[in-house]
């Protein structure tokens, strides 16, 4: 693996070079929070961010994505046109979220719409310089390392240690003034990243494997009623989650009333309509109770996706804890409570 050093001044020039080639999406400040947005100037980049409101999944799985355009009932075409983009400054746990998403969309019948966007995206990760108050990534399956990225930056004094993680990342070296990195710098970066994991403000008390088995065994427990008692079924936890992939599909007409587009948009399993089905002329809901919906989300993260994709789907970003109106979504509170029973 190639390792380099990039000084603060050289980073600015590198970002400028990336921007000259195409859109660069990175963490930028919006009032008191941060979002992933296209950089307008290298100075917009805030690698000292704690977390972003939405995870980077929106870059390959947009909130609304056109799937098929139609001109008439019998004339239509597929319409995904992904563009080259660089996603810069993704925290390691968010990269794990992207890994999970990549596996999910590539499994069984591959979703070419997602994969096309993903294939065109270059990902440059960066270390956590400041912790989000609800982050607990340090206690979530530490043995599972982030995979799907091309380069990783770790903040050191006066610049960044740069680790090249793919062939695409190797090619990026031509765009900046990368200096040789010393063994001491590499060791320092390793210590910085280990400390970030260790110093998370919140934590799960148990391993992912034991969490999976205990959560699975608690399916019929009353604890779900208890934990979800104040749930508004708003779906905020779904929307901010890096590994919530569910969507709805809807058609819309253009003003001519003939042509239009079929698109998908994010959906949320915590919302009661999500699990409705027309049966025999009536309507049934197979997760009618909020406790059932709350449980389904935790089951999906800790058990179902874990079984299917080989790792917990929760990456410990803590966004759901912050987004929850009723303050009941915090996985460390919920999981640690389940584990203690």
């Amino acid at each position: 693996m190639t390792t380099r050093f990039l000084s603060d001044g050289a980073l600015k020039q590198f970002v400028q070079a990336l921007m000259a080639k195409g859109p660069v999406i990175g963490p930028v400040a919006r009032k008191s929070r941060f979002v992933f947005a296209a950089l307008e100037a290298p100075e917009d980049l805030r690698l000292d961010y704690d977390t972003t409101i939405l995870p980077p999944k929106k870059l390959f799985f947009p909130t609304k994505q056109d799937l098929v355009k139609f001109d008439s009932p019998s004339s239509f075409s597929g319409c995904v046109e992904p563009k080259e983009q660089v996603l810069l400054g993704v925290h390691p746990h968010d990269i794990k979220g992207i890994d999970m998403s990549d596996k999910f969309y590539a499994a069984n019948i591959p979703d070419s719409n997602y994969l096309a966007h993903r294939a065109k995206t270059t990902i440059i990760g960066s270390n956590v310089q400041k912790h989000y108050k609800h982050a607990f990534f340090g206690s979530v399956c530490r043995e599972l390392k982030p995979q799907g990225h091309d380069m990783f930056l770790t903040r050191l004094k006066g610049g960044y240690l740069v680790e090249v993680r793919s062939k695409k990342g190797e090619e990026l070296l031509a765009l900046g003034k990368f200096e040789p990195a010393s063994r001491e710098q590499a060791a320092e970066a390793e210590a910085v990243n280990a400390a970030a994991e260790k110093n998370c403000p919140e934590k799960l008390n148990d391993t992912s494997d034991s969490v999976r088995e205990k959560v699975r065994a608690s399916f019929g427990s009353d604890i779900w009623n208890e934990l979800s008692r104040d749930c508004f079924s708003c779906g905020s936890c779904n929307i901010v989650c890096p590994t919530c992939f569910c969507f709805d599909v809807q058609d819309e007409w253009n003003l001519d009333g003939v042509s239009g587009v079929r698109s998908r948009c994010w959906d949320a399993c915590l919302v009661s309509e999500f699990s409705e089905v027309s049966v025999q002329g009536g309507s049934e809901n197979f997760r009618e109770e909020r406790a059932e919906r709350y449980r389904h989300r935790f089951m999906r993260k800790a058990v179902y996706l874990n079984d299917a994709l080989g790792g917990p789907a929760c990456v410990g970003c803590g966004r759901c804890s912050g987004a929850c109106t009723a303050d009941i979504a915090n996985p460390t509170v919920a999981i640690n409570t389940i584990m203690e029973r």
Partner: protein, 282 residues
């Protein structure tokens, strides 16, 4: 019909449907329309009994429907649409010569090989006759491949009975043991009245090795299974056909997920013993 990205990723846009031409269409009850279709490009449409398609009209959307004909019929396939919402109303507005969009066949149908050489019992309630008709017609077309064939059909009222031409044939067929019932009779109804489980008293020789298919309203399943238990039929030989509002049909959108299974990929046909403990299944 492919865009540049599809060539680059070497993958087909899984949301891109194909066009099917409506050969014939007729209302068969006050709310159900029966369509016979063929692929517009003349392509063969092959499927397993029990599989589903996403049928749609651009501008309205798509809904999952069980195939209502047997794959032994090669030049066309059949669907039944019950008018309940926006998409089903748009589909029901179509007539012969119009086109609808089709994606599929999707999911897993009835495991035909497990039924071959065995006695078969199909218990269909209401619109549950549509997806099971793919298997009923398959058995009748390949009659020698199966043992004794019993069919129970229940409808709310005589007016709700689907496929009345088929029912007329089946009533006097020597190829099958057909029994029917309605919950609420009208003045002209001469047959059985009561829930579908009352039909178990009408036939004596259902052997414990019988392979069973159940499809109907959710409330029906537990009562039918109780009867099957009493007959000594193992639950691993019982298959159920589940309905969900599948949006993508390819295991991604999450709408049809029950516990760790997706109805569109793992089903819609499930072995009862595999889902009986899944709280969200029925």
């Amino acid at each position: 019909m492919t865009c540049s990205c599809e060539k680059q990723t070497n993958g087909r846009n899984i949301f891109l449907p194909t066009l099917a031409e409506i050969v014939s269409a007729q209302m068969i009850t006050a709310t159900e329309k029966h369509f016979t279709l063929r692929m517009k490009d003349g392509a063969k449409f092959d499927f397993e009994p029990g599989q589903i398609v996403e049928a749609g009209v651009f501008g309205y959307g798509e809904i999952p429907l069980g195939l209502a004909s047997s794959p032994t019929v090669k030049d066309s396939f059949e669907l039944v649409v019950r008018v309940v919402g926006k998409v089903s109303s748009a589909l029901a507005a179509l007539g012969a010569g119009d086109t609808m969009t089709i994606r599929g066949p999707l999911g897993h149908g009835f495991p035909v090989s497990e039924f071959k050489g065995r006695d078969v019992l199909i218990v269909a309630g209401g619109i549950g006759l549509c997806p099971t008709r793919s298997m009923i017609r398959y058995i009748l077309d390949r009659r020698d491949d199966f043992g004794k064939f019993t069919l129970f059909f229940g409808a709310r009222t005589p007016k709700d009975m689907l496929f009345t031409d088929d029912l007329t044939d089946w009533r006097c067929s020597t190829c099958m043991d057909y029994h029917e019932t309605v919950d609420r009779p009208d003045d002209r109804w001469m047959g059985n009245v009561g829930v579908i489980t009352t039909l178990f008293k009408k036939t004596k020789d259902i052997n414990p090795q019988t392979r069973v298919i159940i499809c109907g309203p959710p409330v029906m399943y537990k009562f039918v299974v109780k009867e099957l238990d009493a007959l000594g039929i193992p639950r691993s030989n019982v298959f159920v056909d589940l309905e969900r509002r599948m949006k993508c049909g390819v295991g991604k959108c999450g709408h049809c997920q029950i516990n760790n299974k997706t109805v569109c990929m793992d089903g819609p046909v499930f072995r009862f013993s595999e889902i009986q403990d899944l709280e969200e299944a029925i």
